[in-house]
Symmetry: C2
Subunit: 386 residues, 2 copies
């Protein structure tokens, strides 16, 4: 097991009727900016619950944060934060709204020239404006971690940021929100959280037995609840298990003491930036070819995964590994996700070269668990995903 | 799944050579009281590492905190804290030293008449003196939770306390300490952490799939590493998996959203108070009879445990459940722990009545997952353990 340092100070309020606790979780006297997305919270009852709970606070609303939180929109919110002397941010939404809020928490206290540098230069945030979240879409785990991904449409860029100053003060997770989420988003959330676990688990072994088993636990739970969620999103228990699994998939716990990979995400982000494909679907496109391309170095862990998660007990290590990959693709299909780039866009030719070039231009010469996947490897992985 | 609120702000520094980080983790300018136990840290190199890391601080030592941290000894330390105007406590030891330090963190800021009331009246601590820990004995999980158990020999009492103000600021977990721990203590730690998981898992189902699987993950890991640890405590990977499992067994995570039981612990504490039997061994004594006595209400979860943790796939639910209990007893035996009270003391007659009377006297009329085990039930469970 590798050395690690771990601290996660986010308070989780999980379950039915937790939104009203906003009243006591936000520091008294705060001037609050409530941030949200496309307005679905106005049709599912969340907006009423939140604004009622905020009635004792001086608060302003900022809606319209798009999926893949857009830099230019966030810069409008930043102006309001400064002009109105906001002291607390409340994100009400899914991963995009929360990630956008994290960017604002950082940018609001940023002393540099241009907040875009936080992203371009990978500047860590040690102190951000305090914020809380009301999660309306289980998927990314951002509600209990300190990372975010921000998009700049102008340059088709999607870049990460983070730091210990960007943990939410609190996050409210009410599984009852799941029932009003469109099936497409539910499928995305299931695939996204599943892949988050894979990225931290499908790596060379450091004999971290508990981390492996925790990762397998999350995968098994997601597999078990997925059909129930997609069949009937009003199934509260399924929704609760789904929601908590998404959080645990990326709150930092399972990645302590182990290597992680993230190549699927790094490549997938480019597909979103280039074609606007849903984040989770880009992961479904890249996963199979990434694992097949890297079979030699990953087959032992793939075989363990096949055995423990999918009960595949027959065959050689390599046969089990390949069967594990096939089961993963089947799982994505069972969610209704297509797993080939050509199924999403006719304009796929040249994508591999384009992404490879972007990686080269950014100096990303080696990605993945060993930091050894070159832009040329990336090109081949993307080609295999056509 | 039940509603829950969860926050665990303790920073974990895990791995080799982490003790030197004390220098930056303790707030600059602190006046530190370093607390430890019987002095084993002076023979295994921990003392030197800690005092070296503290060299930039004004610090005082307080050694001699006994196993089952004794109230009268702690009151001596409290006098020093007040007289010397200590501002930060550093526990260097196992569960007893850390629990004793938690009591001191609470008592140092206590505004009531007599700190014993914190224990007797179950007064929650919302603000304690800040403290950190260097864990030298994996077992109790106290290094990452906010609870403690304190003993008063005079009245043969062992009582719990806790509150959100009692999380360590940080805990340093260096698995290299394991190699110098006597085999008896290692066996205790394995049994203790195993039982901690059982108390939070072997309860009626609320369909908390992920919590169940996490609990099973910890149990499986402990079972897997136990022989390696007992055979060769210098096996770093086994030690690391053991140490992290002990922490995860009782840092609050697996008990979120599920009922817990704790009857084994509540009864076991009395055996320590009456006969001085090691805490972990009291749990080994009570476990089998508790589960057999409550077979009707626990058999479904016991059968799940038998199947998932021990691979018992044949038989009825009840048969699997009984096999799971038998496997648990075998596991304790494999650690070298005896599981009958008569194997620890000849003077066991009347113990059941005595413990039952203590529970009655304290008004503990219903314990366990449903709060329905009466002092009379407790008497029968203890009798079955003779």
């Amino acid at each position: 097991m590798n050395n690690f340092q771990y601290k996660n100070p986010t308070k989780i309020l999980f379950g039915k009727n937790q939104i009203k606790n906003l009243t006591s979780e936000i520091p008294a006297g705060s001037k609050v900016l409530m941030l949200y997305g496309g307005g679905s919270i106005k049709t599912n009852g969340i907006y009423e619950q939140v604004t009622k709970a905020l009635s004792n606070f001086n608060f302003i609303e900022f809606g319209g944060i798009p999926a893949n939180p857009e830099y230019s929109v966030l810069m409008e919110a930043l102006k309001i934060i400064k002009k109105e002397k906001i002291t607390f941010l409340l994100a009400v939404g899914g991963g995009s709204v929360i990630d956008g809020t994290k960017f604002l928490a950082s940018a609001a206290l940023y002393s540099g020239l241009d907040p875009w540098n936080i992203l371009v230069n990978g500047e860590r945030t040690f102190k951000g404006m305090p914020f809380g979240t009301v999660l309306t879409l289980p998927a990314t785990g951002t509600e209990m971690n300190s990372g975010a991904v921000i998009t700049k449409t102008e340059t088709k860029e999607k870049l990460g940021m983070g730091g210990p100053g960007l943990f939410p003060q609190f996050s409210i997770l009410d599984p009852e929100v799941v029932k009003s989420i469109p099936k497409r988003q539910l499928a995305n959330g299931l695939a996204d959280s599943f892949t988050h676990v894979l990225e931290q688990y499908m790596t060379y072994s450091v004999d971290a037995k508990l981390q492996d088993r925790f990762a397998e636990s999350i995968l098994q739970t997601i597999i078990e609840v997925a059909p129930a969620i997609l069949k009937d999103a009003t199934d509260y228990n399924a929704a609760a298990n789904f929601m908590w699994s998404c959080t645990m998939a990326l709150n930092g716990l399972i990645q302590q003491g182990v290597p992680s990979d993230w190549a699927i995400h790094m490549i997938g982000h480019e597909l979103t930036a280039l074609y606007g494909i849903d984040h989770a679907r880009t992961l479904a496109i890249i996963t199979e070819s990434h694992y097949k391309y890297n079979l030699a170095s990953k087959k032992e862990k793939l075989a363990q995964y096949a055995q423990r998660v999918w009960n595949i007990t027959e065959g050689t290590v390599e046969e089990k590994a390949l069967e594990g990959i096939a089961k993963t693709t089947e799982f994505f299909h069972s969610l209704g996700l297509k797993t080939k780039l050509a199924e999403y866009t006719e304009d796929y030719k040249g994508t591999a070269e384009e992404i490879s070039k972007r990686f080269t231009d950014r100096g990303w010469t080696g990605i993945g668990e060993h930091g050894k996947l070159t832009p040329s490897d990336v090109e081949k992985i993307v080609e295999m995903s056509y």
